[in-house]
C-alpha cells in the first residue's frame, strides 16, 4: 500500500495519519525567537556590537520565554521543567535559558559599572555557550520524539541551527545598517549568502531524505511539496525566505541600497518563522494498524 492511499484521520477513532496538534503557534514562536535571538546575541557579542547584544537578549528572555509561558498548561509550575536535565532536552533548554538570562545581563551592564574582569569574562563565556545552545536545542526537543518520523532525524537540529544562524546574521546586518556601523558588513553579508545557499541545499537534502524514509515521513514530504502545505512551504519558505532574500541581498550589495535591508530582514524572518510552523503543523503520527492492514 502506498502512503498516498492512507488518508489523514479526521478523529482518533479513524484510521490514518494523525496530524500533530499538541504544539501550536506559541511553541513555534518560542522556537523561532530562541533561534534568531540566540544567534543575534552570539554574533553580536563576538563582534562587540552592543545593539545586537541587547536585541538578541530581549528576543530570548522576553520573547521566547513569554511564548513558552503562555503555552504551558500550568505556567506557575514552569520551574519544574528544569527537574530532569539528565534525560529531557526541554529541561536542558530551561537551564541554558536561565544561565543565558543571568550571564547575558551581566554582559550588558553599562561599561561604567565596575564589574570585576574575571566575572565579566566568565559571564561572556557562559552567555556565548548558552546562546549557542539556545540556537539549536529546540531541534533536539523535536527530534527525540519517535512518534513523528519527519522530526526524528539528526538533520533537524542542524536545520534549526542553520536557520537560527541565518536569522541572526540577517538581523545583525540590518542593525548595523540602521546604526550606521559598517565594519564587518561585507563579511556578514558573505556569511548570509553562504547560509542562504546552505539552507536551501540542506532543506532539499532533508526533503530527499524524508521522501525515502518511513511512510509517515514520506507523507509529510508530500504534503510540503504537493499537498496541503505546498503553497505555504514553496511560497513563503523557499521563494520568499530564501530566494527573495538572496536576490534582495545581492541587489543591495551591488547597488548599495540600504533601504532594502528592511525588506531583506522581513523576507528572511518570514521564511524562517514559516519553516518552523510548517514543521510543527505537518508532523504526522503514523497510523496504528495491524500488519494485515498494511
Amino acid at each position: 500500500m502506498t502512503p498516498q492511499s492512507i488518508a489523514i484521520a479526521k478523529h482518533r477513532f479513524g484510521f490514518g495519519y494523525y496530524p500533530q496538534r499538541y504544539w501550536n503557534w506559541l511553541i513555534g514562536s518560542a522556537f523561532f525567537l530562541g533561534g534568531i535571538g540566540g544567534a543575534t546575541f552570539l554574533l553580536s557579542i563576538m563582534t562587540r556590537f552592543r545593539p545586537g547584544m541587547i536585541l538578541g537578549y530581549l528576543i530570548v528572555v522576553m520573547g521566547k520565554n513569554t511564548a513558552h509561558l503562555l503555552f504551558l498548561g500550568r505556567p506557575e509550575r514552569f520551574w519544574r521543567a528544569a527537574m530532569r536535565p539528565d534525560r529531557s532536552w526541554i529541561a536542558r533548554g530551561i537551564w541554558a535559558t536561565g544561565l543565558f538570562a543571568v550571564s547575558g545581563l551581566i554582559c550588558l551592564f553599562p561599561q561604567g559599572w565596575a564589574v570585576p574582569a574575571a566575572i565579566l569574562t566568565a559571564a561572556q563565556v557562559v552567555a556565548m555557550i548558552s546562546a549557542f545552545f539556545i540556537m539549536f536545542y529546540d531541534g533536539f526537543v523535536m527530534n527525540t520524539s519517535p512518534a513523528i518520523a519527519f522530526w526524528h532525524t539528526k538533520l533537524l537540529p542542524l536545520l534549526i541551527l542553520m536557520y537560527a544562524g541565518l536569522g541572526g546574521t540577517t538581523i545583525s546586518l540590518t542593525l548595523r545598517e540602521l546604526f550606521g556601523v559598517q565594519d564587518l558588513v561585507p563579511v556578514l553579508s558573505q556569511a548570509e549568502h553562504l547560509l542562504l545557499v546552505g539552507n536551501f541545499l540542506l532543506l532539499a537534502g532533508y526533503l530527499v531524505r524524508m521522501s525515502r524514509w518511513t511512510p509517515a515521513a514520506r507523507e509529510t514530504a508530500r504534503l510540503l511539496l504537493h499537498g496541503t502545505y505546498a503553497r505555504v512551504f514553496l511560497g513563503l519558505v523557499i521563494a520568499v525566505g530564501l530566494l527573495a532574500t538572496l536576490l534582495l541581498s545581492t541587489v543591495q550589495n551591488l547597488a548599495g541600497r540600504p533601504e532594502l535591508v528592511i525588506l531583506i530582514v522581513l523576507s528572511e524572518l518570514t521564511g524562517d518563522f514559516t519553516l518552523v510552523m510548517v514543521l510543527l503543523k505537518s508532523g504526522l503520527f503514523s497510523p496504528q494498524s495491524a500488519p494485515s492492514w498494511r
Binding site: G14, A82, M142, G283, S286, S289, A290
Partner: protein, 204 residues
Amino acid sequence: MARLGMVIDLRRCIGCNACTLACKQENGTPEDIHFARVVTREVGTYPATKRTFLPVLCNHCEDAPCAEACPSGATWIREDGIVMVDREKCIGCRACAVACPYMNRHFIARGLLENGYSADGLSPFEAVKFAEFEEGTMTKCTLCAHRIDAGLLPACVVTCPTDARIFGDWDDPSGKLQKLVDGRGGWALLPECKTKPKVYYLDD
C-alpha cells in the same frame, strides 16, 4: 517485580466499543478524552467491504518515550510497569503527547472541566469524577491502577463481551501472555518506535 500488560485478540473483537464506554464510565474522563478507543477501518470495494477493528489504549511501554520526554518528572513508572502521571508535577508542556507514538496522552484544556457532556454544568457523576483531573495538565490510561490495587481487573477487560482482552503479568511464571503471543504470532503496534510496549495483539 511484575510487568503488567495485555494481549488483545483481534479475531474476537467485534468493534462494539464496550471497552471505550467502560473506560469512560470507570474513569469519568472529560469530553473527547478516551483512554481506550477502537480504531476502525473500512476495507475493500463495494459491495465486498468490511470493517476491521483495532482496540487501542496506553501501551505502558518499558522504554516509554513519554517518560523520557517529560521535563518535570511528572510521568513515572510504577514497580508493576504501569506508566502514570503525577498531575501536581505536570506543567502542561505536552512534550509527552508529542513523544507518544500511540497518541494516548491527553491534555485537559482550560475550561474542559467546567462543563460536562450536557450544557447544564456538571452532573453529580461528573462532579465526582472530574475532581480526579486538573486543567492544564496531562492525563492518561492508568490500566485502572486503582482497580488493580484493589485486586480487580481493568474495566475494559471486565467489560469486553467477547473476552478479547487478556490481562496479565508478562513476568508471570505460568507465562499466559507470553504463550499466547508465542503460540499465535502476536505483535505490538509500531515496533519501529522501539518503545517495548506491554500491549500485544493477536490476529491469527
